[in-house]
Symmetry: none
Subunit: 156 residues, 2 copies
């Protein structure tokens, strides 16, 4: 489970250390790395392990083959996402276009969101954080116990 927020440095080669806690989450899933794509909600990136992609795949399989929405989601997620493998030091090298999309410059903030995580420019994230806190406060009554956990789990 992706938890907490960590800010790391992007070096001259475009490499970033993925937080060790995050690496532990995706460890032993066949692919030693993460998958990252530009969010369609704003100027930041979203990411997760390969298992998350497979979950998305299954979810899309539940829709009609030629459903307009299904095709759009497939294109927006799979086509835009990059599998980024860890180097021996646990870093990924962030492609330049993704780097630019998120408006990064030298530093990135990894934000754990349970099943997936986000990658923000630290300044942009801080601006957003205040807004999110008040939104969370408004919605806190919606956080309540679930009778029985679903087998296999859900999605974000």
């Amino acid at each position: 489970m992706f938890l907490s927020s960590v800010t790391n440095k992007v070096d001259a080669k475009g490499r970033v250390s993925v937080p060790a806690d995050f690496r532990a989450v995706v460890a032993g899933s066949g692919f030693d790395g993460i998958v990252v794509w530009p969010s369609f909600d704003g100027q930041y990136l979203e990411g997760g392990g390969m298992a998350l992609m497979e979950e998305y795949q299954r979810s899309l399989d539940a829709l009609d083959y030629y459903d307009e929405g299904r095709i759009a989601l497939q294109r927006a997620i799979f086509a835009a996402s990059r599998p980024l493998q860890f180097d021996t030091g646990g870093r990924i090298s962030l492609p330049k276009d993704l780097h630019d999309y998120a408006g990064l410059n030298g530093h990135v903030t990894f934000v754990g969101l349970g099943r997936r995580f986000e990658i923000w420019s630290p300044t942009a994230h801080e601006e957003r954080a205040g807004l999110m806190r008040s939104l969370a406060k408004e919605n806190r009554h919606r956080l309540r116990p679930v009778p029985t956990p679903l087998p296999g789990g859900g999605m974000p």
Copy 2:
């Protein structure tokens, strides 16, 4: 799993490098290459590994031999598709008719869509990508948890 989008060059002989990540997906499946056919949805090509063809075959086997739809799909996919073997450098040589069908000129974009991929003219793809993103945003609520993972999975 086919992920991300890559743009490569078509040389004077009609050869294109298939992205290394895509080659890795189809590696070790008996046939060292990909299968490509013209999409019946637009001016672009669709493709996948030989394993995808076998999946289609199984899916069609579920229909009656003389089912009208079965025959039409067989024609559109199997008859129009070309097995294209990699050369030692991981390239395929794209037949001229397919090249023309997709309106390519010098450059092609490979678009990963999970189980299969598409081959577009870079300009045409870029035009399409923006539309797909907004459609995906509208439809994102439909991406939801599936209770039980289907064994074997489905089609594209």
